[in-house]
Symmetry: C2
Subunit: 475 residues, 2 copies
C-alpha cells in the first residue's frame, strides 16, 4: 500500500492522468484495474512514452536495459541506493547513463521523487500527494522534499505550477538540462531550482545566463557551509563548492538567489503574478504607522527607494485624506475611515511617473471581523453578551466593503502595468477565517505577504531583474 510501486501509479491515476498505464511486475497480474505485464518488453503498445522504475537498486540496471531495448522514450528511476552510497553506486549510475545515452533515452534520477506536470495533460507522477494547479512556475529540485514544499506552498496559495522535477542523482539529465528546457517550455514563465551541487559549473552558468535573458531564474543554492556540505554529500553525493564563488558567478549571470524555500516561493510568486517595475522607486500605503516603518526599513535594506512624494501626488492625497495623514511616504492613513482612502491612495501612487511600484499594507481583515461579529451574535443569542447590535448586518457590511476593495485592486492591477505587492497579517490565517478576499486575490495571481519585509524583499527582486535586463540591453 505504501510502496512506491503502488503509490506512484495510484497518484498518477487518482490525480487525473487520462492516458494508459501499463504496470510491470513479474509477481502480479492486476494493479489499479490494469493488466500487469511481466516485463517492459511484453507491453504491446510500443513505444511507451515514460517508464517509472521503483524496483530495488540491484534490479534497476536490467529494467533500464529492457526499457532501452523496447524503445521507451524516457525513464524516471525513483529507486535510491546509487551514487549517494559510494563507488559501486557511481559505477552503476555510469552504466545506466551509457545505456540511456546509447539509445537516445532520457533518464531522470536515480534517487528521485518523480515529476509533476499538470498541463497539457495532468501528470502527477510522484510519491507525495501534492497537487498544485497548472500555472507558470517551474522547479527543478535536487531534493524531492524541497520540491514538495514549493508545490505545497503553491497549492495552498492557489498558485499554479508548470513542472516540478525531482532530479535525484542526475546520472543523465542534469539540473542545467532542466533549466535549459524550462527556458524553451512555453508553459513556464518563472524558472526555479534547488541546488546542492553542479558537476559542470561552466555549462550550468552558460545555460542559466541564456535562460535568464528570457525568464527569471531563481536559485536556492545550499550546502554553502561546512555542515551543509556534509549533509548534501550524504544526501545526493553532491559536492557543494564555494558559496561565495557560486554567488558571485550567479549574480553576474543575472540569476536570482534566495536563502530558503520560503523566499524561493515568495519571489517566484511575485514574478508569476506581477509585471516588472521600470526601476526601484516605491510608494507605500499603510493603515498603520508601525507597519509603514517596517516597510520603509525593509525597502531600504533591500535596495528599494521609498521616494519623497512629488508635489502633485501630495496635493492629490491632501484633497481627500483626513488632515492627520502622514504627508509622507509611506502614506499612512492612520486607520482613517475615509471611504475608499486605501484604493484611492494606491491608485494615486501607481499612476505617478515618480513611482515604479507600490507596496500596500493591510488587506483581508473583513473575514476575521465578520467571524467575530457572528460569534458575538451567537453569544448574544445565548445570553452571554448583553449588548444588542445588528451583528449579522455588520458582518455582511464589512465583507461587502472589502469585496469592493478587492474588485478595485484587481481593476488597478489591470489598468496600471506596475507591480502592486500586498502584505497583511491576515494572510497567515486565511484558511482559519475562510478569507474570501485573500482567496480572490490569490485566484487572480496576486500574492499577499505576511510581513512588509517579505513584500519588500520580493519587490526588490523584480526591480533587480529590471536592472539586470536593462544592463544587458534586453529591456
Amino acid at each position: 500500500m505504501f510502496k512506491w510501486g503502488f503509490q506512484i501509479p495510484f497518484n498518477v491515476v487518482a490525480f487525473g492522468y487520462d492516458g494508459t498505464i501499463y504496470p510491470v511486475n513479474p509477481h502480479e497480474t492486476e494493479l489499479l484495474g490494469s493488466k500487469v505485464y511481466r516485463t517492459v518488453g511484453d507491453i504491446p503498445d510500443k513505444p511507451v512514452d515514460l517508464a517509472v522504475v521503483t524496483v530495488p537498486a540491484q534490479g534497476v540496471l536490467d529494467v533500464v536495459k529492457d526499457c532501452a531495448a523496447s524503445g521507451v522514450k524516457a525513464v524516471i528511476v525513483v529507486t535510491a541506493g546509487f551514487g549517494e552510497l559510494g563507488e559501486e553506486g557511481v559505477r552503476m549510475e555510469a552504466e545506466m547513463a551509457r545505456v540511456a545515452n546509447g539509445n537516445g533515452m532520457l533518464l531522470v534520477g536515480p534517487n528521485c521523487m518523480g515529476v509533476v506536470s499538470p498541463s497539457p495533460r495532468s501528470l502527477y507522477c510522484q510519491m507525495p500527494a501534492v497537487t498544485p494547479k497548472a500555472g507558470t512556475i517551474a522547479m527543478a529540485s535536487q531534493s524531492g522534499n524541497v520540491g514538495g514544499t514549493t508545490m505545497r506552498l503553491a497549492a495552498d496559495h492557489r498558485l499554479g505550477v508548470s513542472r516540478c522535477i525531482s532530479t535525484g542523482n542526475e546520472a543523465v539529465v542534469r539540473i542545467e538540462d532542466y533549466i535549459e528546457y524550462f527556458g524553451e517550455d512555453p508553459r513556464t514563465e518563472v524558472v526555479t531550482a534547488y541546488i546542492e551541487g553542479v558537476d559542470d559549473g561552466r555549462r550550468f552558468l552558460d545555460v542559466a545566463r541564456d535562460v535568464s535573458r528570457k525568464k527569471p531564474v531563481i536559485i536556492l543554492k545550499v550546502g554553502g557551509t561546512e555542515a551543509g556540505e556534509r549533509a548534501a554529500r550524504s544526501h545526493t553525493g553532491a559536492l557543494a563548492g564555494s558559496r561565495d564563488v557560486f554567488r558571485g558567478a550567479c549574480k553576474q549571470a543575472g540569476i536570482i538567489q534566495v536563502v530558503d524555500s520560503e523566499e524561493l516561493f515568495d519571489v517566484a510568486a511575485a514574478f508569476a503574478g506581477q509585471p516588472l517595475p521600470r526601476g526601484n522607486r516605491v510608494g507605500v500605503v499603510t493603515y498603520g504607522g508601525g507597519w509603514g516603518v517596517l516597510a520603509a526599513d525593509a525597502c531600504a535594506e533591500f535596495g528599494l527607494d521609498v521616494v519623497r512624494l512629488p508635489d502633485d501626488v501630495m496635493a492629490e492625497l491632501d484633497s481627500f485624506l483626513p488632515s492627520w495623514w502622514s504627508r509622507n511616504n509611506p502614506v499612512d492613513l492612520v486607520a482613517g475611515l475615509v471611504e475608499r482612502a486605501y484604493t484611492r491612495s494606491i491608485e494615486i501612487l501607481l499612476k505617478s511617473d515618480a513611482i515604479d511600484g507600490v507596496i500596500a499594507l493591510g488587506i483581508g481583515f473583513a473575514a476575521r471581523r465578520a467571524s467575530i461579529y457572528r460569534r458575538q451574535a451567537k453569544e448574544h443569542a445565548d445570553g452571554l453578551l448583553p449588548v444588542e447590535l445588528p451583528y449579522e448586518e455588520l458582518a455582511e457590511q464589512v465583507i461587502e466593503y472589502e469585496a469592493g476593495v478587492v474588485d478595485e485592486v484587481l481593476r488597478l492591477i489591470d489598468r496600471y502595468e506596475k507591480p502592486l505587492i500586498f502584505a497583511a497579517d491576515s494572510v497567515a490565517s486565511a484558511y482559519y477565517d475562510q478569507n474570501e478576499a485573500i482567496f480572490t486575490l490569490w485566484d487572480h495571481g496576486v500574492q499577499v505577504y505576511p510581513t512588509p519585509r517579505r513584500a519588500a524583499r520580493a519587490l526588490a527582486r523584480l526591480a533587480e531583474r529590471h536592472d539586470h535586463l536593462a544592463s544587458i540591453g534586453v529591456r
Copy 2:
C-alpha cells in the same frame, strides 16, 4: 458604531471583562446597558481604576485633569494628534504629563491603541478585536498595529500573552517603564518590544540590562534607515538614532534583536515554549535530505554547531534505522518507514551529552494525507476514481499513527529538559487541514516553524541567551 468611544468599551465587554464599566459622555444617557455619566467626577464609585480617553484632541487635557481630580489611578489616552503633529502637540503632552505626574496618576499614550491583559482578569481594552489567551509573552509596542500583529500571531498559534501595550507617544510612561514592569510581573516570562525611538537611551539600556538578567528581552528596533526614520518621525515623532550604535549597546546588554514581526514572534514563541539549551550543539532529524541540508546551512549561518555524531549515538541509530540512513547529522531517515524511527531518533539525540538541542523536521502531515484519502473515497463513490481502496481506514490509520507520534514528542519534551524545535511545511496550512497534530503541539506550547531556517534562527537565540547568562554568571 465604528467610533473608538464605542468600540473599545464594546470590546472590553464582549471579550469578557467582569468588572464594572462607567461610560462618560455629556450627550448620551446609556451605553452597552450601562448608565452614562456626564463627567468623570460624576462617577459614584471612587476611585476609578482605569480611564480610557477617546475624546477629540482638544478636549483631552480637560478630561485628564478631571481624572486626576477624581483620583483615577491610570489613564489611557487613545486620541491622536499630539506630539506627532508638531510643537503645539508636544506642549499639550507636556501639560498632560505634568497633571498626571503631579497627581501620581499613570498615563498611557496619547496616540495609542490601548492595552490587552488577559489575566488575572480579562481586559481586552483596545480597538482591534484580537484576543490571545492568557500566557507568558508580554509586549510593549510603539505601534498599535505591530502589537496587533504579534497578538494575532499568538492567537492563531494558540500561544498566550500576558500583556500587550500600545505605548503611543509616551508622554508619561515610556517604553523602558513597561519593560521594567514586565521584569517584575509574575505573569510575564518573555519580554518583547517594538521600538521606533527611545528618549533616554541610557535609562533604557540600564533597565533592559537588568530585566534581561531575569527574562529574555526581545527587541524589534526600526527606523534604522533614512526612509524608516522619516516614517517613524511622522508616526510617533520618534527620533530613531543610529542603528549600529543601538545594536551594539543592546548586544552588550544581552538584549535579543530581531528583524521583523515574524522573527519577533518566532523567537518569543521559542522562549515561551522551550527550556534553554546548555550550549550550541545541535542534532537534526529529518525525513528528507533537502530539508536536512537547509537546516544544516541555517544552523551554521546562525551560529549553531551541527555536531558530528559520537560513536554511541551512531551505534544506537544503526541498531534500528535501515542501512541507507545518512549516518550523519542531520539524521536523514530517507523517508524510511521503520516504526517510530522519527521519535526514536529524536530521543537518542536528546539524551546524548554531546547535544544541547534538537531540530526535528517534518511533522503534521497526517491531516492532509487523511483529507486526500477522504476526497478520494468520495471520488471513488462518485465513480470518478476507479480504484477500490480502504480509504476511510487509511485516513484513520494515518491520523492515529501521527497522534502517537505527537504523544511521544510531548513525553520527550517532559523527560529531557532540552529544546526540541520543529519545522514542517504542514504548519502553514494547519487550518486548511484542521491539523489536530499541530493544534495539539500548539496547545502544549510547542511551536512548529514553517522552514528549517526559521527553526534554526529561533533555536540560535536560545543558545545565545544561554551564553549571555553564562557570561554574566547568572547561569
